[in-house]
């Protein structure tokens, strides 16, 4: 779990860049909202939850030793 942040970080980088972004960069509506806005707001909310879960997973470990 400790190194999972790297995956999320890289995943985030990819999902917020061209060409991945191009999938949602369309003038369409989704449930009445612009598609790109939904994608970004939704993805952002999910990423915050992911970080939250990640911080919970490191809660029990001694911060002195799991740094490296």
């Amino acid at each position: 779990m400790k190194e999972s942040w790297v995956i999320f970080f890289i995943l985030g980088l990819i999902m917020l860049n061209y060409p991945f972004l191009n999938i949602f960069n369309k003038p369409d509506l989704f449930l009445g909202f612009p598609l790109l806005l939904i994608y970004i707001i939704g993805g952002w909310a999910i990423s915050i939850i992911v970080i939250y879960l990640f911080t919970i997973s490191i809660i029990d470990k001694s911060p002195r030793n799991d740094g490296q």
């Binding site: 860049n17 909310a45 911060p63």
Partner: protein, 1088 residues
Amino acid sequence: MISFQSLLIAISLYICLHFLVAIYAYKRYQKGRSIVSNSFVYSLSITVYCTSWTYYGSVGRAATSGIDFIVIYLGPSLTAFTWWFILRKIVRITKENNITSISDFISSRYGKSQFLGAAITIIAVMGIIPYIALQLKAVSSTFILICNHPSFQLPEHLKNSFAINNSGLFFAIFISIFGIMFGARSLATQRRHEGLVAAIAFESVVKLLAFICVGIYVTYFLFNGFTDIMGQMSSKYPYLFDHLTTLGDLNETSYANWSTNLFLAMGSVMLLPRQFQIMVIENSDENHIKEAMWRFPAYLFAINLFVIPIAFGGILLNGSNSGADYFVLTIPMNTGHHWLALLAFLGGFSAAAGMVIAESVATSTMILNHLLMPLVLRLRITDSFSTLILALKRMSIFLVIFLGYAYFQIIGDTFMLVNIGLISFSAAIQLAPSLIGAIYWPRGNAAGAIAGIMGGFSIWFYTLLLPSVIKSGWIDTDILEHGLFGLSILKPTELFGLTGLDMWSNSLFWSMLFNIGGYLLFSILLNQSEAEKEQCIKFAEPYSEGTRTDLWETKRLSKPVTIIEFVGLMENFIGEKQAHEAISEYLSLHEIDEKGMVSEFELPSLKRFVEKTIAGSVGSAAASAIIENYLSDVGSGMESFYDAFRSVRSSLEESREALYVRLKSSEIMNRSGSLQSITKELLELLVKEFHFDLVTVRLIDNDRNMPLLSEKSILNGDFRISAKISPTEDFFISELLTTKKSQFANDTRNITRRTASAVTPVDTFAAFAHIPLVGDEEPLGVLSVYSISIVGLFTEELLNLLSSLAGQLALAVKLVDEREAREHEKNEKDAALLKNAAVQHEMEMAKQIQLSLLPDAPPNISGLQIASLSVSADHVGGDYYDFFVSDDRFFDAVIADVSGHNVGAALIMVETRSVLRAQVNINTTPSGILASLNNLLLPDLTRAELFISMFYIKYDCATQWLTYSNAGHNTPLLYQATEQECQMLDAEGMIIGVKGDIVFEDRSIMLNPGDLLLLYTDGVTEATDDDGELFGIERLENILIKCHDEPIQQIVDHIYREVICFSGGNPLTDDVSMVAFRIEQSPYDQQD
């Protein structure tokens, strides 16, 4: 409707609230009950990232360029993923090295490079000034907006007044005062500013609440929720709607712009000075990072949720996106909700205030430590050092804020808000390669970091800052349109012919290329210096405490240093009170006596602590130089700082020479040389630094004379100081010896006292001083300094300094004296041992000689069996026995005991033997022999106070008559074979040596065959057992009776064994001697 007065009151109250929050937090902190040290406040304070740019600019950008505003907040959210590893590591390194800013962090890693620190500071200042200007502009513009709103009843006379148009100035003053109060309160060792953080967290709450209130108002009161706004927008302005909700057309530029912004935002959240200040420097607990990792993105998420609704709502209400930058404010105002507008204004005010406070404090620290501090050290400023530093720090805060104000006044109005922010971001990102390399790439070196940062910075300047200045109309637009020197290849926004990119992407690409390229290239080409390697290890492994401590102390100190000395050093840089607080904190964690010496074991940790503490005030580079030099190590690569440090006054009273001399002298004293060489070096130093013409040291010897120990002179040999003087000859010296105080004369022409030319040559010198080398009580010597020409040389400061040096010298003298005393004592002890061994040896020889004087073996006489034994208790004894045989018929035997068993007794025994041997042939009777012996020995014995007891027998083998005479000796035992019992032989007679002319009695007895006579000394009968009982005559008798027919030698040995057994193996207390003989059965008797 709100009046102008209520507006002013509301703002004033809000400003007061700021101070109250900060003061409350500060007081709580001082009491040790911090309200700031928790992850919630930490997370909130990090949101200082959201400035007025966020508050107003996001909406503006959303309404004009669309959804790409959000990327500025997505970037930090993404970066937050890495915090638990990168940020935590940075925080740990920062805490362990007492780092004060981002420039300090990077310059520390690269060998505490002063140049690098200064370069980063300049970049930061240049990048930050526009950003601060932006905040001032936001506050100023919104204030004017409110005041000039038609519905706002501004009194006519105030319209276009100075106060209204220059609200930015008042804001700047408020922020400056606040920053100074809570950001530069003192030169305290602690780098955290709790009051400041509390205020920033408070502002973060206000700006979020205000923005959300406006958002809810627009979304749910002016419209019917999100979908309603979206629906209205898409139906009313379909083209604009599509433009704003997508990244424009599918061309490269939009994506490049998006990615550039994303990258800039990702870096800026860590690299902007204020972010570093709040996230790293103000962090009180690493665990807070964990919570902040999701709370900070959540905050960003919340504050951005209503950006698009407000932007779209504003467009729908306004009919266009003009003035979108202030929709947050203008929508409530235009719809008549003035209190909401006021709240929105305060939200924007908070956003601006938090940013400016944090940024100015962070930047001022950098300016002080990297720009002003080296200057102060070099300029040899002579005023109070700590006050100066504090004043400079406060001035720096003012400077940063008012530079921002000046920028805003001069060129601020030409840009949209968002652009200024991005210029700052682009400057901050230049630190990214060096910072990342600092913690993850051990190979990175100072040359690389400098090259990278300078390269990147140059590009940034040329491609972003310059165009921004040009666009303000201050410089001709030629460069922008046609490139530098008309070369289109040098067009700032299309550098090197790279077209098709927006100016941000263009700048980012080229600056990063040069930055990363330069960093990698120089790091790989050049080697790290020693200082860098040391720092590199500290940065690479901040989690492993142990190894680092060992590496730290690379040089061994020759002399122990006291804590007091360290405190004295710290006082100069952080103030007396703080220094004492710091050291008591340290001492509470380490077991050292405050007055005590620091052990070598403790020294590295204390040294690091002191350096860290000083670093909190002057930055790590300067602190390192100061400490290294203080500990009399000229650190490698730090020589340039040595001169600078020399100029620092160690206290208010002392000049730089004094400090230098102190430093050098302690260096000299620390060397473990002979007293002579230490003194010589010290005198040379004094002559060199103070230009004395003659300096001498005299020590007072045991006769209270004062021989010259050492002298140093720059005279031309026409004056010779005499080597040895007597203190009583000179008034000054005798006065010195009685008062133990320095004696000096600043003008010898005024002296009327009696002086000795040997020590106080008034004719030669214009001024002189004698300083006692005071040990514990008595002066150990005198340090004398003379000057030929300088009248009035001896000021109080100089005398104080000289006294201090003399004190040190006295200590050295005392140490040498003690060492010599110890050596002397040891030598004496050795000599005594040696002598003792020699005596032992001689005594052993004496013993051998004495034993050799006793008969080797009993004489061989027919009819007699003879045996003897003598054992001395000590090396030499006083027992004596002898045999003489004359005419083959007479057998004489004598046994004697000289009182005592020392050397004297032994000598008397020898004399007795000689005299006796002479008398034996002259006298015929035992009594005659004893009488003449007494007369002959009496004078010697009287002198030696010794006596002799003696028993003499003469046995006639023919007649078998035994004649005997006794001089006070133990009565011998005679075993008579016929009676089978023992009889004691005695005769009248006094002990020899008491008086002269004594008459001894001769007695005779007829012996029969088988009779056995035993002569013995008192060592036999007076042997004692453990209970103190004597061996006695009875035991002796019993042995004789029991063993009378054994071989004669066995009987003697038997008795000796019994005596030894009786005394229980204890060493003999007295000499033991025995002589025994037995009459053999005659052949005739046997035949009968």
